[in-house]
Each structure stands twice: as C-alpha cells, then as structure tokens.
Symmetry: C2
Subunit: 491 residues, 2 copies
C-alpha cells in the first residue's frame, strides 16, 4: 500500500490519477483510452448501479437491452445528432480475420467487408427510436419507460480514468410519450432522481438547471443537468436528462394514433449517468491521505483490526470481533475483520485509511480487559475509545454522521467557492485565480458564450433553477440579462 503521491495542492491532476491507480480503483488498459475497472472500483460502481436501478424501477421504469452496433445510415437521420458524434465514432468495417499469407500472424480478411459500416454505439437514441417505430402504434402503447445498462464508446483524444475514457459504462434511459408535457415531466423527474442520488448517496451537492444551447446534447431540445464542484474549483457535469421533443420521432418516423384518432409524432426523453460519477465521487471527498468514501457507497463500511502479540490474544480478540461483525452485518453494514497475520496493524490502518473505509475499529488485549474499542473515522481522522456495549448502534450512528458530514463539508466548500461577479475584469480574475462557480449575467447568445470560453476556458455550466430572477447586464457584452447563470472551468 503506497502513499507516495502528491498532495492536491502540489498537483491536483496527478493526485487524482495516482489515487485512482494506487487505491486499486482502475487503471489504463493496453487499449488506448480504455480502462480496466478493478474489483474495488467496480464494487463501488455496483453499489451506484443497484441504488440507481432501484430508483428507476420505483419510478416506473423497466430495463431492456439494445444492440451494441448502429448502422451508419441510422446515424445520419438526425442532423444535429450525427454532427455531435461523428468525430468520435469507432467503426466496424469487417467481420473476419485470417492467417496472413506470409504466415506471420493474422490479418483482416478483406473479403469479409461489411456492406454498411457499423458504429459502436456512442449513445443509443438512433437504434432505439428505429425500434420504437415498430412498438408504437396507438396512445395505448405509451408511455414507454425503458432504461438500459450498457457500455458505450466515444473516441476521445485526451482521456482520464473515469472522467473521460473511450469506453465507459453507463445507463441510458429512453422514454416515449404522447404529449410534450408528459415528456418534460419525465425529464424533470429523472433530474430529481439524479440530484437525490448525488446528494444522499454520493454526499455531493449539485446545482440543478438547464444547459445553454451550446452545451446541449446533440439532438435535444433542452438538456437538464446536475453540476457539482470539485476540490480544485472545477465543475463536473454529473448527469444529464434531455427533453428531445419530437426530433427522433421525426427522424425515425415514429407516430401514434391519439385518443382523438389523430396521427401524431411521439415525444421523447433520454437521460444518463456513467462511470464518470466514480471520478466525481473520488474528487468530491478524498484528501491527501487517500480516498474518502461516503458510507452509503463504500464497499467495506467498517474494518476491524485486531492488535495482538500471540495466537491466544488473537483468539480472544476474534471472538469479540466476530460478535461485533455479526451484529453490524445484521444491520446491513458491510464489515471486514482483517485477521491476516501477514500484515502488521499499522500497515492495515494505513491501508484502510488510504482506501477510504469510513470506520475502522481496533481491538487489543487491554480493550478486552476494559470492554472498550478504538473507533477511528476516516472523514475527520479522529479516534476515540468507546465502551463496547451497544457498539453496533454507535457505529451505525457514526456512519450516518460521516455521510452527513461529508455532504455538509462539500456544501460548505461549494458555498465558499461560489461567487457573484459583475464586471469582466472581476470575472477573469476569479476564473483564473480562484476558480469555483461564478454567477454572472450573460446576454443569452451563443456568440458571447463562445467568446468567453475562448478567452477564459470557462463555460456556462448551467442556467440554474431555483434562483432569484435579477435583471443585470452581461459581463461580456453589456447587453441586458434577466438572471445570472453559472460559469466555471469544467472537467
């Protein structure tokens, strides 16, 4: 277990990358831009998946599975969509290999060329709406509320573990509705699910709002988003929910007979979160000592380390430890009793600290005598000696406290790093020297947004909901503006 990695202050990007690798979350694979998600990282993703899956089902959605490949011609059907994705598509052109004629290795069999190339899905709107055409005839067939857990590929040139990889895992919801209102309601409902998940499970506060036209999903009428702030003052888009209008219904000719017996185009939404959330989770809470995980998503919530000099001591400690383990597990808490004799207690303490295990318990011979136990919490690194009695309830309560504390800490950080600015000079200064969310007036044009981005690398992260309407003047153009929007540099 290595801790030789830079602090956030020294080199934030390197700190993140080293943390991901050294905490055994993921690593780069032999395939450019593709990662291997290691068991410890995957266990966190599984917890995210299970939670989200239940939330989707509780809101009426079902899962299904659509093909990995999309015929190239499908892609061209929605103009904005293909424009957005064409430059990052992995393309399958052949379906067979053969032995090289020179006897050296294998080569692509040129006689096995596909008539039409297949795109490895970067997202599945096109193949799904082509399918929905056959599923939808009447208003009785609506709504369709389907989610898919899948891998997708976007050929990114600059990749970073979890945050931006050529292949990533995600869920993508694709729903079909009879009315505009119902589709918008769905888009908003999912945004609420995402925000709830981010705040209650990931302990990560998010801003809810919509994207500016420039930042919209390719093919969407409106993109709703949740935006989080990382510890380096950069924003991270954590989830998006798109109101697609009738764009895909038009492109794929999906119509239904309404109650009034009229043929109408179907309304659509799509929404997704991905393994990018892993990156957000890591960056939101971790510190210079390693990973910090919110209890609700930690694969191991409690580690118990015995401190002993001989086997007799270990045996006595094990009895107590296994009893505690059982009581905690009965409460649904995941516990690892680490009685390996190949590692010293100090090494184990460092290991669990580095891997972000929320609570670590230690028991030695003196604890047995005194009926006490040492309890260490990862978030604050505080330790205390507690009476053993009722320890399972104390630990359960502590886990709740840690969950809440992480959220409050992240919220304070965001509050301390959100700033309203009123002039262009001030804007540039804050973006460059302080970072964080910058609340500023904007004239509503794509042109201004692009110029601000070109000059400062800051983009509009969201036009936030639940914000005070306030007239003002665009920091860049001086033109009138009806509300402040949220700018930041972003991942």
């Amino acid at each position: 277990m290595a801790k030789d990695f830079p602090t956030r202050e020294e080199n934030y990007a390197q700190w993140y990358n080293d943390l991901v690798i050294k905490a055994d979350l993921a690593e780069n694979s032999a395939v450019r831009g593709c990662m291997v998600i290691k068991p410890y990282g995957y266990a966190i993703w599984e917890k995210m998946q299970a939670t989200l899956d239940k939330m989707f089902k509780d809101t009426g959605h079902v899962n299904a599975y659509f093909p990995l490949f999309i015929p190239k011609s499908f892609f061209s059907k929605e103009a904005a969509h293909v424009e957005g994705f064409a430059k990052e598509c992995a393309v399958v052109t052949h379906y067979r290999l053969k032995n090289s004629p020179d006897g050296k290795g294998i080569v692509v069999d040129e006689t096995a060329k596909l008539e039409e190339e297949l795109i490895v899905r970067p997202t599945s709107e096109t193949i799904i709406w082509d399918t929905y055409r056959n599923w939808i005839q009447s208003y009785r067939d609506l709504p369709i509320l389907i989610n898919q857990w899948a891998n997708v590929v976007r050929w990114e040139m600059r990749t970073r573990l979890f945050l931006r990889t050529a292949e990533f895992l995600w869920q993508e919801g694709h729903t079909a509705h009879a009315t505009r209102e119902e589709a918008i309601e769905e888009t908003e409902k999912i945004l609420d699910v995402y925000a709830l998940f981010a705040e209650k499970w990931m302990a990560m506060p998010v801003l809810k709002g919509v994207k500016s036209p420039n930042e919209r999903f390719a093919g969407a009428v409106e993109t709703y988003c949740i935006e989080a702030l990382m510890q380096d003052g950069k924003a991270l888009q954590a989830g998006t929910s798109h109101f697609l209008g009738q764009n895909f219904a038009k492109a794929f000719d999906v119509k239904f007979l309404s109650k009034e017996n009229k043929l109408e185009l179907v309304w659509a939404t799509s929404w997704g979160v991905s393994t990018r959330l892993m990156g957000a989770l890591i960056m939101a809470h971790s510190d210079d000592n390693g990973l910090v995980l919110p209890p609700k998503l930690a694969p191991i919530q409690v580690a118990i380390v015995p401190i002993y000099r001989n086997m007799e001591q270990l045996e006595n400690i094990s009895k107590v430890a296994n009893d505690i383990k059982k009581k905690l597990e009965d409460k649904g808490i995941s516990v690892k009793f680490d009685d390996r004799d190949t590692f010293k207690p100090g090494w184990k303490f460092a290991e669990y600290e580095f891997k972000g295990v929320p609570v670590r318990l230690a028991i030695g011979p003196r604890d047995l005598e005194n009926k006490t136990i040492e309890v260490a919490r990862r978030d604050t690194l505080e330790k205390e000696i507690l009476q053993l009695e009722d320890i399972e309830n104390k630990v359960e309560h502590l886990l709740e406290q840690i969950q809440e504390n992480l959220y409050q800490k992240a919220l304070s950080f965001r509050e301390n790093n959100t700033q309203a600015v009123n002039t262009w000079e001030e804007f540039k200064d804050v973006i460059e020297n302080k970072g964080g969310f910058v609340l500023a007036h904007w004239d509503g044009t794509a042109e201004t947004e692009e110029k601000i981005k070109a000059e400062t690398k800051a983009t509009i992260r969201t036009i936030p909901f639940n914000t005070r309407m306030e007239e003002g003047k665009c920091i860049y153009s001086g033109k009138p503006s009806a509300q402040r929007v949220v700018f930041a540099r972003a991942y």
Copy 2:
C-alpha cells in the same frame, strides 16, 4: 396477445421463434444477427444475473470490468485460441466519420485509420491475461477470482434469438492460481454452481461432464460442461467451465514467485454462461399454449385478475386483492394485480397463460360472498377453487410445487429420451428418428467423432461424470472403449 403460432409438433423451430417474439422476450434488430432483449425477457435475465452473481460472490469471486476492444496482436498470441475465434471477429478499423464530400450523408474518415485494428471481444482471455501479467508477481497475489458481466460479439452466419446471436450478454469468470490442482478445483466448483443454478432455478436437469477434444474451448486443456435436453430431442450446452492449464500464462508471460522462491507460470480457468440460457429456459418448459416459466425466475409469479360487472364490485374485489397482494409480497413473491378496465378477464387469462405466469388468481363477486378464490397453475393448466383463508401460504406452497413439478417433468422427459445403443445401425436410427441423448461407446479419437458427425450431424455432447465404467466397442470403428459417452444433435 396473439396465439396464432404453430405447435411444437408442427414446427418446433417456428414455435420457438414465434414464442420468443410474441411473448415479448426479444426480437431481431435492424443490425444483422443482433437482438433487442425486450423488458419482459430482460426481467428474466436480471433474475438469472442476480442469482448467479450471488452464487459467484458466495464462492469468493469479485466483479471487475475489462475493455470491449482487444488489439489484434493479442489475439495471435495463443495459437489455438486465435484459430478458434478468427473467423467470427468484428473488427474496428477507424475511429471517425465525416460528411461525405458529395454532401450526401456521412462516410468513414479514411484519415482516421487505426494503426492496429481492434477486435470486439468474442471472449476476454487475451486482454485479461495481458492485464494479469502486471497484477501477479508473487504467490501472495494469487488466487485472482474475477468475474465480468459483459457483452461479446461473435459474427455468426446463422443466428437464432437467444440461442445464437452475433452479440450476446454473458458473464465470464477468469481466475489465476498457483497450482494445477487449485485451478482444476475451481473449474469443478464453478461447474457445480452452474449445475445447481440450472437444476434449482431453471428447473432444468443437466448432465455434467467434460467435452471431447474436438468440442473443447479454443485454448483450453479441458472443457467441463453442463448439457441439457430440449423438447425436440436436441441437446443444448448450457454452460462451460474451462481448465486452461498454463496456456494463457505462457502466451502472455504471466509468472509468479512461488513460496519456494521459484519463478513459475500461473494456472488459469475461465467459465461462462450467457443469454443462451434464456433459450434453454424457454425450450425446456414451454408448451403449445405459450411460455412456461419456473417460479424462481418468473418476473411476475402471481397475477390477480378481478372479475366484475361494475365499479362497486371492482372496489370490493380490489380490497381483497390488494390484501392478498400485500401478504404475498411480504413473502417476497412478485404479484401483479391487473385491474385494467381496457381488457376483459378472458383476455387477461390468455395473456398470463401465454406469458408463463406460474399462478393466476381470479376473484369475482361470488368469491367475495363465499370467501373463496380461483387458483390456476400454468404448468398443468389445472384450476381449483380454494378458501381464501391462509391463501398466501397456499400460494407460496403451490409455487414451490410448480418449481419442483417442472423439474421432475423435464427429468422424466430426459430419462425417456436417453437411450443406450450398441450398433451403428441402431445409432443412426435413434439419432435420425427419435433424437435425445444417445449413450454409445466411442474409440476416443477425433477422427471417429468427425466421421460420426459428418454422417449423422450428432456430436459428443459430453463424456459424463458419475457414469458406470463399462468396457465396450466403438459403435463406429469397433475399437475398444472404456465408457459410454453422450451423443446428440445439438443447438
């Protein structure tokens, strides 16, 4: 809900295909050979996944995720492996599309050609063993017990929904061990997990054994398998567990320092089951009235249909129905109370029968008066009127009975369709006219096996475990044989 499909007798292949489509399990997609798994089918697959995932974890395995793409050069490293898969590989050659110069649609951007082609994984041994090389240095790093849930692609020319598709979903376990014995033990342990799952959850009896060299996985030293018998007398390989020896460790140079401080090659296993199990499940139990699902894998275990003439009756029935629903759900039983007024009871009965819902309850006004309920079981199509009292325990018990009955029925079928034959004439006759598992002596050579296959389309499904050793003469060559093996035509 349509029932216009052939009986098994009339056209078994068509019966299967129609059933899959009309019961909303899956359908062919616009992409050749790739299927869409529809929500009802996917819900069954989710139950399979959840059960198997728990079984893997209970036996010490963890999940991880490896890249979708495999560099072509990796493929060549294990000779038998590449030989086995080269002819069915989807190959990615480019990573960008662009607007066609003639302004008509989009084309592959020829300037974005990959230096080395990427194969869409048909199975992941090569990319995983390339990764394991970096994870394994010492015996302390062993064993590695990893499973992956993923999609894979094998470019099949003739595809059938679930049974053989270009893309399919599966799990693939890849384990690494310090000794040959431990790897073989793992291979066998997983075979037992698969057999237990097939028999206890799918209610499908299986033969356990090993494959003949001809039928081995490409790159394996020994392939263990479970084989099931379908209602048309054809065999279906339901799962395989491979002892890979040191083949992949050699190909990817994966060595470890043993306890004795010697550098040794690592021992490997791999094992998988796929959405093919869906095909097996459907074919094992379904009948001419539609799908028959074992209760343990049915997405809806109990459907409740109200029979009423007016809203007042429906209200009264709903009270009772919702009470039953709650009591059943408290027992972990999934229940659908179908109070839609857009469909008549008769239509609903047919729907649940067709979709294989194990138990259907019906309540009408007279039942309310008499405190009774009609209980119909899908496996035998029997109905009876039961007293409402204690109905939740009666239904729970009935579900267990159905599960057991389906298994026993399939077991009887297999017993009635398993036959020992001693001559070549008899062999040909049984294979051609009766089907089923044929127990016959074989001389152990690949040559004979190939000739038998060429003449009869029958292959050796397995060299079974737990069989009586019995000397005899090969039905084809007349040469000596030490035990009978299991022949059949197969999916």
